[in-house]
């Protein structure tokens, strides 16, 4: 076929590609309670994480002789604002260094909601395509609950049958159940003071998509890391770019796969993240780019996006679970 002579750029949108590492390794996720527990807590965290980092690197080396691995760290400034970048970041970097770890990229959690004035969470929400329960033939799923996402069919609300008697309880059902259901229903957001407060699993799903190089806005990459050469950090979270690059690593922030190291109390949250990822119709252009390039390097990614994320859940050192009161 001959190339067209006449073109209109607005008629042929392009999806820009992003640089990709082999693995995006998350070294931790800091919440206020961790910070309040003091530097010892961080020290313990990184000491524990270090062991698993070595294991993950060894695992990556099985796929590639020279694996490109970038490390990242996430600080919560969305659910609770605490301390300042000036106070907190140097402490985090110092404790990581003591454990022999390097943090290449650092992100603020609020960046998963809005970054560079782009409503990332909102855009991702519009890409949810709910897993259809058997019997879905194209009409809107009757069980859809705004703001919630499930892995199956919910228990029907108590209703009277045609004859008027109240039916008994009916169990919910997991769509992909094998013999028995593990039903899960995830809250995606809540309304707060007229605004929308995104849930932790939903933001974490956006975070995973960013790390997997699958987020775009009108074809352009979003949440691009900005170089941060200074040792000084601002006194206000809003003055810190959403994602900063702290080292001169050649490994890109986004990667074919992700690995996240976290205490085992996050297991439920991350299961919810997988449930969400499994129902997001990600940008087709970005998806194809990742598939082509990972395939070209002989390390093809799993087809389903949720399968590209792996985790190490470790036991939190010390009696931290008591300190939290959870």
């Amino acid at each position: 076929m001959t190339e067209a002579v006449f073109r209109e750029t607005t008629a042929e949108p392009v999806t820009k590609s992003v640089p990709l590492s082999h693995l995006s390794l998350e070294l931790g996720h800091l919440y206020m309670e961790d910070f309040e527990a003091g530097p010892d807590r961080l020290r313990e965290h990184f000491a524990e994480v270090r062991i698993w980092v070595d294991a993950v690197r060894a695992s990556a080396a099985r796929r590639s002789k020279r694996p490109r691995i970038s490390t990242c760290f996430l600080i919560d400034d969305y659910f609770t604002r605490f301390s300042t970048p000036a106070e907190l970041i140097p402490m985090v970097l110092k404790e990581a260094e003591k454990a022999g770890l390097v943090i290449d990229y650092l992100a603020r959690e609020s960046a998963c909601a809005v970054a560079d004035r782009i409503e990332l969470a909102e855009s991702v929400m519009h890409r949810l395509v709910e897993s259809p329960p058997p019997g879905s033939y194209g009409s809107r799923p009757p069980v859809s609950q705004t703001g919630w996402l499930a892995n199956g069919q919910r228990t029907p609300t108590m209703s009277r049958s045609a004859l008027g008697e109240v039916k008994g309880w009916q169990p919910p059902g997991e769509t992909a159940a094998r013999n028995h259901s593990v039903f899960m229903d995830v809250e995606l957001w809540s309304e707060k003071d007229g605004g929308r407060l995104w849930s932790c699993p939903f933001l974490a799903a956006v975070w995973q998509l960013a790390r997997l190089g699958l987020l775009r806005h009108l074809g352009e990459p979003v949440l691009e890391p900005q170089d941060w050469k200074s040792e000084e950090f601002p006194h206000d979270w809003d003055r810190l770019p959403p994602l900063i690059k702290l080292t001169d690593t050649k490994a890109a922030f986004s990667a074919y796969r992700t690995c996240t190291l976290m205490p085992n109390r996050f297991l439920a949250v991350e299961d919810a993240v997988r449930l969400i990822l499994d129902q997001i119709d990600v940008d087709a252009g970005a998806l194809r780019q990742v598939a082509d390039r990972s395939g070209g390097e002989g390390m093809a990614v799993p087809a389903a996006v949720a399968q590209r994320a792996t985790y190490v859940f470790y036991e939190e050192p010390g009696d931290s679970s008591e300190a939290e009161g959870t």
Partner: protein, 323 residues
């Protein structure tokens, strides 16, 4: 394009339904407003083309399905996957929505994790073997109760768009929507696409069958079918307006009044294959040969122009003041 990924699973069939209607807006929308209307997703572009006609195409959105395929012989085949829906606006005046999917010859006997379907948008997999002929006939006949319903999906998108705040929900004239159901059987790459059937049925229903080489995405077939549906709608609508105007019998301002909207809103919309994939443009030739879509359109528009010219000659003061 979203459809390209679906291709890798080697579909043997692509099916769709196009609904075509007048945009419920007194004024035609300009390019910017069209892009706003069709912005089904905040993070994805609406394709806007201004030449040779103003044409805007929405991003593709998915609907998950898990149900029986429509079949003509009563065979009950469960299928799971996603149906693509998209909408197009031509010259800010004609609104179309299409729902379509592709199907492979066979699929697994169990349902996969949902994420695996989502990475192959627009692919609906049968449990076991696909009864091809029965599905072709079933789709063209229309979905039965509980069967995969392309019409419902296309209509759902249309309903959503008709409610858009941009629209005043006033139409400049009355018209009937049409729906066109189409199926495309896959043939080896390199063979020429062909149109094997185009049927005008009652109640605004059109059906169409084509053969589509493997390397031509289903989205391109959807585009061709939208183009044919649009021009068929124009012929149908203008013919109806002419019939209602009693052009042969009546005279005076009533004819002008009846034909005025055709001139203002429709005559300039005829532009076959303007936005059709190069690999499929020639399918128009068959319909130009017989029944001769463009010939009929020329005849209709000439008749309208002649009638209005005659009106201007005989009643020069009233001819151009229809209201």
């Amino acid at each position: 394009m979203t459809a390209a990924l679906g291709q890798s699973a080697r579909s043997v069939l692509a099916c769709g339904e196009v609904r075509t209607c007048l945009l419920p807006s007194f004024q035609a929308l300009d390019g910017r407003a069209a892009a706003q209307l069709l912005r089904l997703r905040a993070d994805e572009h609406v394709r806007v083309s201004e030449r040779p006609t103003m044409y805007a195409l929405s991003p593709e959105v998915l609907t998950g399905v898990d149900c029986r395929l429509p079949t003509s012989n009563g065979s009950k085949v469960r299928a799971v996957g996603t149906v693509i829906a998209r909408a197009a606006l031509t010259e800010g005046r004609l609104l179309q929505s299409t729902a379509y999917f592709s199907a492979p010859a066979a699929g697994p006997d169990t349902r996969r994790p949902w994420g695996q379907y989502l990475v192959r948008p627009g692919l609906v997999e049968p449990f076991g073997k696909l009864p091809q002929q029965a599905t072709v006939e079933g789709v063209l006949r229309g979905a039965g109760r509980g069967e995969l319903d392309l019409g419902t999906i296309a209509e759902g998108l249309l309903t959503q768009l008709r409610r858009h705040a941009l629209l005043d929900r006033r139409v400049p004239f009355k018209s009937r929507p049409t729906h066109l159901r189409w199926v495309a059987r896959r043939q080896p790459e390199g063979e020429r696409a062909s149109l094997t059937n185009f049927t005008v049925a009652e109640g605004g229903l059109r059906t169409m069958e084509l053969r589509l080489p493997e390397d031509v995405p289903a989205a391109a077939a959807a585009g061709l079918c939208e183009d044919l549906a649009l021009h068929d709608w124009l012929l149908t609508t203008v013919q109806q307006m002419l019939d209602n105007s009693r052009i042969g019998a009546a005279d005076g301002p009533s004819v002008v009044e009846a034909l005025h909207p055709v001139v203002v809103h429709l005559l300039h919309l005829w532009m076959p294959r303007a936005h059709v994939d190069a690999a499929l443009g020639h399918l128009w030739d068959v319909l130009e040969e017989k029944p001769g879509f463009s010939r009929q359109w020329e005849k209709l528009s000439r008749r309208i122009r002649d009638r209005l010219a005659l009106q201007a000659v005989t009643m020069p003061h009233q001819a151009f003041s229809p209201r």
